[in-house]
């Protein structure tokens, strides 16, 4: 089904000049964001853009095992996102190079295939883009283009098996219902190699934290690819298409690319010629406490606290430093919600000396990958994961 949107009305509005007039503000700073909350979202979500909506999770939710649905970040690329969907008439189309093309309702998905649930981190590839130096264009995410949630749905591989990929199938594409006002803008479509799509991980999910997906997070159905950046987690999914050739769509072959270097880094002014699609997440930890610039009392106990995750091997260890990275101690790992979940960690610290201090955290995955202090840079601002350094004041 199609989202109910009307391109002509939109263009008529533009032609009438509604958006062309502006005030005499010369400061160039963004106005205070609208106080009207987004549907199903907290009023203090960080507004990056309204059309399409891009909203960031407030940082305090890094202290939660699961990110509540009303706090989960929102990221759309095309401004005509679905605004009206009937859950009884929605159909997922599964087709292409298959023996039995399918059109599945939500009820049929639930009834025909085993329902499964897992906890997984949903992180935008550009999370913390605003911290790259030199700065790069794009949505200037802080640390809140990430959340952790329990996803419920059916395994993609079961649905693909029902459709029966034919000999020669190599890749599977996933198309969302969102559209751009101009037909010339490529539709949002991502692809996975057939062996990834038929692996155990990917889900066609209708629930986030045991509730239907909010419209802003992809109701009625989204792809969940545990361990992979959420650019693959196509929202408002309408078509799954099996291909017998490599997909050449814009959102794989031009956008969401990283340098083909071992750590996805390149040097400003000497950009790598060869690029590849961004795929699995790297190991990463984020502080929730202390906050930058926080004043801590000398001689009093304080807790260093945060979360860590990788692409699904799990977190083996988180180390913290209170002297800028000269010496390290292990943090305690909290509840394990599964390998694709983030894991909360904490460590106790009693600062002694008054003055400035820098705390640092670095995580190591079960696979043995550790966050390295070498800053990572690339032109698109993806995959940042150097250890966070938080400057505080001991008073």
């Amino acid at each position: 089904m199609r989202p109910r949107t009307d391109r002509r009305d939109f263009l008529r509005l533009l032609a009438a000049g509604t958006v062309a007039g502006c005030s005499r503000d010369r400061t160039g700073s963004p106005p205070a964001p609208s106080t009207e909350p987004y549907q199903g979202k907290l009023a203090d979500m960080v507004l990056h853009t309204e059309r399409p909506p891009n909203l960031e999770t407030p940082e305090r939710f890094l202290a939660h095992d699961l990110t509540p649905n009303d706090a989960m970040f929102v990221r759309w690329h095309l401004s005509l996102l679905p605004t009206s969907i009937d859950s009884t008439t929605y159909r997922l189309r599964v087709g292409g190079h298959v023996a039995r093309p399918l059109e599945l309702s939500l009820d049929e998905l639930r009834a025909r295939f085993p329902v499964t649930t897992l906890v997984a981190v949903n992180q935008c590839a550009g999370n913390t883009r605003s911290l790259f130096s030199p700065r790069v264009p794009g949505v200037q995410w802080g640390r809140g283009a990430v959340g952790n949630a329990r996803w419920t749905g059916v395994r993609l591989r079961d649905v693909l098996a029902a459709a029966g990929p034919r000999d020669g199938a190599v890749e599977v594409t996933f198309g969302g219902m969102d559209r751009a006002p101009l037909e010339t803008v490529p539709r949002f479509e991502k692809s996975l190699a057939l062996d990834v799509a038929t692996g155990e991980g990917p889900l066609l999910a209708w629930a986030m934290n045991d509730a239907p997906l909010p419209m802003l997070n992809g109701y009625p159905l989204r792809l969940v690819v545990p361990g992979w950046y959420s650019t693959y987690w196509v929202k408002a999914l309408e078509a799954v298409t099996v291909l017998d050739h490599a997909f050449d769509g814009y959102w794989m072959n031009k956008a969401y690319r990283i340098p083909a270097t071992p750590d996805a880094s390149e040097v400003p002014g000497e950009l790598q010629k060869e690029t590849v699609p961004v795929r699995r997440m790297n190991v990463r930890s984020l502080f929730v406490h202390p906050r930058v610039g926080e004043k801590l009392a000398a001689g009093a106990m304080t807790e260093l606290e945060g979360v860590a995750w990788d692409s699904g091997s799990g977190i083996a260890r988180v180390e913290v430093s209170t002297d800028g990275g000269s010496s390290w101690q292990d943090a305690r790992l909290e509840r394990d919600l599964g390998p694709f979940s983030w894991r909360r960690w904490r460590a106790v610290w009693m600062p002694k000396d008054r003055g400035p201090a820098t705390v640092v955290a670095r995580a190591t995955s079960v696979l043995g990958d550790r966050q390295e202090s070498k800053p990572r840079w690339n032109r698109s601002g993806y995959m940042k994961n150097d250890p966070e350094r938080v400057d505080v004041e001991i008073a």
Partner: protein, 109 residues
Amino acid sequence: MSAALRCVLPAACGVLVACSSPSAAPPSPTLHTLRLPMEDVILPDLPGRAKVASACAVCHTPRYVLEQPPLPRKTWEAEVDKMRKTYGAPVPDEDVPAIVEYLVSVRGG
């Protein structure tokens, strides 16, 4: 010009459709809808603003400009080029220098 004309429009045109159908039947319980807040963006009043507002705002809020950090001129040139060639933004050749100039004056670095 008048002091306080703002860039205001519903953040998705689905909202317009909803508003223009007051006589529609009550929504079905199986119907899931999304209503988006109004868009309210003020672009700085510098030369080229009208061109930027009309060329860029077809597809996205002009807040994308204000969202950006200071960027070098050649980065802005590349952005305008990408919007035209890759996404088909309706920008005639002769408007490109004014648009780049505006972007550099607002978020140049």
